[in-house]
Symmetry: D2
Subunit: 313 residues, 4 copies
């Protein structure tokens, strides 16, 4: 055995205690390949500012725009460079069971601690098919199930979750449908991470969420770690506008734009993602400057010109 798969019950138990997990950004070079130096710099700041786990190649990290060999390579790179300091969760799910099994097997072979497993978006399937899919991928190793009907077009019903919740590799749910459902799952013994940054503080402190899988923590890891460690309504209120702006277009468009504006990544987008408009950037710059001292490595927040952004093919 190897990786977290080897860690057994202890490993699974540790995973269930994570509070702040970042859906980490994948930065690009001008030629469209991964910018591993920029990636490493961001991950180092995550480690140093209280982030406990990373989703590698999530929708935020644009796993959907990676070839599988790129994706597994990034998981392996992350494990190899930072695996002793932070939990590495590979987004090795897919709407194709075959692809999910292949990627998940490879992810565990290169040492990831757990997988994030999505229900089959776009192609969809029946409830029986959903169960078969989850049972297949859970057999590969520990997994968080990801429910995001806004992206998949198909909610994962509670009874499907409960039917797999006893599986030894089931860790819990990244739930995006709201805090009342999280509270309900908690009452049934299912660990939840909020998938909505705007609800995460309340989820954690008022609705029994274990924590959050966050987009915003790419930018302000320390502040988000604080939000997860202790109830802080003032801080939560102060971050509302920034979080709202980070979802003014489908994620990760605003995050990508923000990281470029902060000088933390090259302003390179893989299509179909494109930067926010200048007007949106102006609005964001104001919000980013308010928390600038909490954005690690950010020396300046620039609105930037449209001409500075690249979308290589």
């Amino acid at each position: 055995l190897h990786g977290a798969a080897a860690a057994g019950i202890q490993g699974t138990s540790a995973m269930k205690k994570l509070r702040l997990i970042t859906a980490i950004k994948t930065p690009y070079l001008a030629n469209g390949k991964f910018d591993l130096d920029a990636y490493d710099a961001i991950v180092e700041q995550q480690v140093q500012n209280g982030v406990e786990g990373l989703i590698v190649g999530g929708t935020t990290g644009e796993g959907q725009l990676m070839s599988w060999d790129e994706h597994v390579m990034l998981i392996a790179h992350t494990v190899n460079q930072y695996g002793r300091h932070i939990k590495v969760i590979g987004n090795t799910g897919s709407n194709s069971t075959r692809e999910a099994l292949h990627a998940t097997e490879q992810g565990f072979a290169v040492g990831m601690d757990a997988a994030l497993q999505i229900n089959p978006y776009y192609g969809k399937t029946s409830m029986v098919g959903l169960t078969e899919h989850f049972r297949a991928v859970l057999s590969e190793g520990p997994a968080i199930i990801y429910n995001v009907p806004g992206r998949t077009g198909q909610d994962i019903p509670d009874d499907i979750i409960m039917s797999i919740a006893a599986h030894e590799n089931f860790l819990g749910v990244k739930e995006c449908t709201g805090n009342s459902r999280i509270e309900d799952y908690h009452s049934k013994g299912v660990v939840c991470w909020s998938g909505n940054d705007d609800e995460a503080h309340a989820a954690r402190h008022c609705h029994q969420a274990q924590g959050v899988i966050s987009v915003t923590s790419n930018l302000i890891p320390g502040l988000f770690a604080n939000l997860m460690r202790q109830k802080d309504d003032d801080l939560a209120a102060r971050l509302e506008d920034l979080i709202s702006w980070l979802f003014c277009e489908p994620n990760p468009i605003p995050l990508n734009t923000a990281l470029a504006m902060c000088g933390l990544v090259k302003p390179v987008f893989r299509l179909p993602y494109v930067p926010l408009s200048q007007e949106q950037r102006k609005r964001g710059a104001v919000l980013l400057r308010q928390v600038q001292q909490h954005i690690p490595g950010c020396k300046e927040v620039r609105v930037m010109d449209d001409s500075e952004f690249l979308t290589p093919r």
Copy 2:
């Protein structure tokens, strides 16, 4: 120039006149690979029973479960075997612009007549990103745009369609949101194919749809060709229950099950798809037997045992 791309305005014009396009089933061998013999038998019946075009590797054909080389191979095979008798439309879209461009380029290189292009499901994007994506893929050759918010989680707004409608490679829209929208698009000069079999007859004869991209026509191509050629309320009414049953679970689960029950494909499912339950199959058998003489090649409709179905990994 080559393929339909070479045909220019004449080719584009011919595509816009198609009435019955089948989203063709991909049959499998017990080992999970394509069963090209079964595929060819089905396609031959399509050609002989009035179907004018095929979507190869659509969601019905499970393009989402294919590797791209399998997908392009199937397009090439179809062009090579039947391209002189039927229009071949490859579902070479993707939520990754890079993958869509690659697959679409290869599809045209092997002679497909047009592409079906989906908006970026799951990953989604902004309206500007959507336009960039469509402009990129339209540059490769003629395309039908596919709008199916129930799968993608994101409707393609009318103004996006109108902003690309003048592109020389824009053929029209496969629209799944209903007939009033189809009628509206028609009034603006945009050709539409209904993506809903249950609404297709009305769409064609009462709401100005050009035709349908059909699932049901895999089974009863001749009847569906009749429905598209002339208004026939009786026939439409008689097919209602069958069509309804074919969508009692996410497509293509019922279709796959039906084709196996009719002996036209091996009972092999690629996960996450699984067969309908025996109860559902019993219900379907009654409906299928009512049209059995219109199902080409069907000698018998069997309910089958659960044990007969295979889901190879």
Copy 3:
């Protein structure tokens, strides 16, 4: 059944009668992708000047520098565009049996008439392994076995060839070790094509070769067709220096350079291939001009500057 695989004994028999087969050049765009327009122009000239078959993605066509999906796409494109006028033989062999089987299966699925099957170069294997490899790939469809120890580091012994010669899909041997062996194979009923342009005329007319798989015929298809149709010692002698020059560096380096000098392809090389030196090009220009009227489409032979050549990554 489909492709030549379907043609059965008639198809196999027709393949064994081919005299002039060209190992066709793959031209590139400046971005390193296939230049299908240039390819089509060359293939059209092949068809019109007496070439009867093509090896697609041979070592000359740089199959070893293609991804398999590119390779199969090029086979499919060729079948689709020219399959009614010329036999299409895909070089779908590999030193990995698994890859050879996959590519060969796909090649036949897209309609190729036969495969060229190499023994496992570089990795090599035992004689028992060699037989297993050939039996495996022959099960996919008609094949010419390719023996070129100068590339593979391992000769295919006569007894291996004889042990598979009775297989219904065995077409013959592309033999590069010389004419006495060809003559010997012929005496045992094995069809041979010479793999050496400099020996091909003698092979055909004095040593019982069926024909040639030629590099030179990319440039002068008509003259090479003449050489194969009838004994013409004068013509053979006149071509000696040109043929010799075409192998002054490992093929296809001189051919690629020559086609660029003749204006038939863009001067683009995929590494590890690089153009001939200017001195070598000067020597070649003299020889090419001597046959310029037999090089279809060649309006001018230019020595070119080093700076005109591209090697994209």
Copy 4:
């Protein structure tokens, strides 16, 4: 920077001091996938018995039968599990410069210490092309150049090696053409590892080889470590017959057979490799039993029946 690429001069210098590097075997499960448990068991014994480096996916490890994603995954797995105890050298070379660059870039991204770079076998190239190829791949990180004309059909001449020897990422040569050449290279400051187990002891102690990249050390790592540490003519003589037997068919056929006979790997072969004949196995069993106490983990040496061996497709 990351991996050994990051280590700079110190890292390069440490690599040049390695004496015993094993071209490690890749074991398979019955389904043909990697058997990582068996692999890990073998590698642990390598670490514990004095082996200082591993070639992952060499010709011995059957890199030529891997897809690149499998290959990089195995490198990543090895780095992640054993990278703190042993140097990991990925065989990321290829006869396609593009593939070599891609695989080498990924290998360094997942932490390998160095690459093994082959000259373009099968496709071959000119001397200028060879230099271009090596310069391209050397730019990715530290590399050992591999010269094995018996596999590649093309010797790498001394002047090519000397023309790249000053590159900061050039580590040295795995040389298979004999000890006099190794001695000559040493006199010019080029580090060499013998690629021939039968000559390795003499190479190291009489001809200035730095060490060996060994096949035999898969079986008897401790004895081979002794051979490299100190001159021991008796031991070298005692191993002669075993080493000779290990090359009675193209490597890794005898090694694979031996490891299966020793119970260290499942008896699974990827074609075109097949097991040794029973007669050859009987001969080998005698030789293996003579060193059995030096084969870590070997409880018994069995001749085995032919029927026990598997060659999954």
